[in-house]
Amino acid sequence: MKKILLLFSLLLLLTSCYDYHELNNLNIVNSIAIDYQENEYTVYLEIINSSKKDESNEYKTNIISGKSSNIATAFKNAINKSDKEIYLKQSRLLLLSEELCNKGINNIISYLLNDNTLSNNYILVTTNNINNFYQKQNNTKTTLNILNNNNEMDDIEKITSILINKHKDIALPYIEINNEKINTSKIAYFKEDKINNFIEKKLYDFLIKNNNNTTFSFDNNTITIYKKKIKTDIQKDIITININGYGYINQVNKNINLKDNDSYKILEKELNKQINDEITTFLNITLNNKSDLYGLQDLYYKKYQKENDNITYKINIDIKIDKNGNIYEGYYD
């Protein structure tokens, strides 16, 4: 009898149904945005509208927002405006306004990292206009698709691990919205937790994110690097970045005949020079602005356990062309 009573009590206690919420009673948050204007944080929560009124497959979203001088209170104020229980774990995008990034994001990151109602695999993005972003339905979905296309995005943990590393700086995708047109070709690079400047993200993706399928053009020749390896070698004060890989030809100009072996050597030489120039320009611009995106200081520190302000870098590029297209010759200049 005792055992039956014990088992019965366990049956009641182990159901884990205490304070449960049905899916219909949840407001699922699709994305979160944080703005900072006139010493006040504004938190926007984009909520998926679960009631299906039309036959289209696209989901509709509603926006709720909360304001306060404190980020935690702003979150609470936004959540309090919801008619149902808020579910934040489905959120995949966190938009930070340019003004907020100019002020510094450490405060926001530490709050978000501490909150266990959020997932930790959403991506961080900066934008110049949060209001315009949410004016058009499905912008979140479109943005995520564009950003995730062939790119491995940094989640909040990756961003935090770089932010707390004083030898390296972060960069976030920048969404520029002008007249409802979305441009995602730039990144905002930071110095510590504040925006430093903007730059085209092609080289960032190629060099730092190590993404493949980067296209380089020179003299009407276009070549895509589809596979590569980046290794760094540290000798005294010089960090050598070695890039080896393979590319395929998208387009060649009139002077190139792909039946000729030497043409490939010429193309490879020109391509390697082009990549070298572009990377050097990218690194010089960011380093001159005191942002170390590649983490040269970090690499040096990890090897010698000391800091060095006089680190120089050298780039060795060895990209081989091993694929061509359907035609052997270009027919225009």
């Binding site: 014990l6 182990l14 884990s16 205490y18 930790n120 695999n121 943990e157 691990s161 990890k302 356990q305």
Partner: protein
């Protein structure tokens, strides 16, 4: 009678149990990137300490009771704070605690052989979960995060070694109460396998998060599981993978309650369980700051217990 494989499995669970909770954070903060070296040295030191205990043969009855009670309280607190932080964050603490205590009382009404059999059954899903977790995390490993290999001071490095040794060996001492068929080979094999799994987990934590980020987290061993994303489809499975840690806690708590039951009269046993339950409830409900003090200083208490249980002779001897 406990089979030889039962001892190995029990030792495997007992070795890892005290690492659930704040211990990873403590050791990472102490040894930073040198965590792998310090843990490995700690493991070797742990084998030596286990050998000393094996040679000593038995432990004093009162030390046994103190040790079991302490471990039971600490793992109950770890279990509840982990569960209430991530799994049942709106459920009152007593609803989480009571089934756990009832399970222990029910388990103690059987004997140690039953606990050993349960652990033998649980070990298969546990190993599958651990291997699945480690496979899912392998693609995220960044070896650069392990460098520089030694970036802590000598004092913290030594404390980290001792911490690893103490945390991994202390629960294993409890097995000496059931030593009829136990040889050093079994206990050391279980200990080594358990320690290797802990070191592997530490390797994954440090190489994925880096020591700076992992030292910020309260439960890096749980949060790292959130990053598992297999075949673009399998994600958000951290709560299933957490079962491995929960099973570790349950097996150890059953060992502790069995020892308490064997060393105490029935009435005293129930009274002690009541006191333990009340203490945990009071600590978690009213005296939250005590859990912080426990987190910070428990390692010293473990150290004292380890030394006392090694020094004080048993009456049977």
């Amino acid at each position: 009678m406990i089979k030889k494989i039962g001892y190995i499995i029990l030792s495997f669970f007992l070795t890892r149990v005290l690492f659930v909770g704040n211990s990873f954070n403590t050791i990472i903060n102490l040894s930073k990137n040198s965590i792998l070296i310090s843990s490995f040295i700690g493991m070797i030191l742990g084998i030596i300490i286990l050998f000393l205990f094996y040679k000593k043969n038995t432990i004093n009855k009162y030390i046994n009771i103190i040790l079991s009670t302490t471990i039971l309280i600490i793992i109950s607190i770890s279990n509840i704070s982990l569960t209430s932080s991530y799994l049942l964050n709106q459920t009152p603490i007593f609803i989480i605690l009571i089934p756990f205590i009832l399970l222990n009382i029910f388990g103690s009404s059987k004997n140690m052989v039953t606990t050993s059999r349960i652990s033998t059954i649980i070990i298969i899903p546990t190993i599958i979960i651990i291997i699945f977790s480690l496979c899912g995390l392998t693609s995220l490993v960044n070896l650069n995060n392990l460098f520089p290999l030694f970036n802590t001071n000598l004092k913290n490095f030594i404390i980290a070694i001792l911490s690893f040794t103490i945390l991994s060996t202390l629960p294993n001492i409890l097995l000496l109460n059931y030593k009829k068929k136990l040889s050093f080979k079994e206990i050391s094999l279980g200990y080594i396998i358990g320690s290797i799994f802990i070191i592997l987990l530490m390797f994954y934590i440090i190489s994925i998060y880096g020591y700076e980020l992992s030292s910020l987290y309260k439960y890096p061993e749980y949060l790292i599981l959130k990053k598992i994303f297999i075949i673009n489809n399998i994600n958000n499975i951290e709560n299933i993978l957490l079962l491995e840690m929960i099973s570790c806690i349950i097996i150890t708590s059953l060992v502790c309650t069995n020892i308490l039951r064997d060393n105490l009269h029935q009435k005293t046993f129930y009274l002690l369980i009541f006191i333990i339950t009340t203490t945990i409830l009071i600590i978690l409900h009213k005296l939250f700051y005590i859990t912080i003090i426990i987190q910070n200083y428990i390692i010293y208490l473990y150290f004292i217990l380890l030394i006392i249980s090694l020094i004080i002779p048993s009456k049977k001897e």
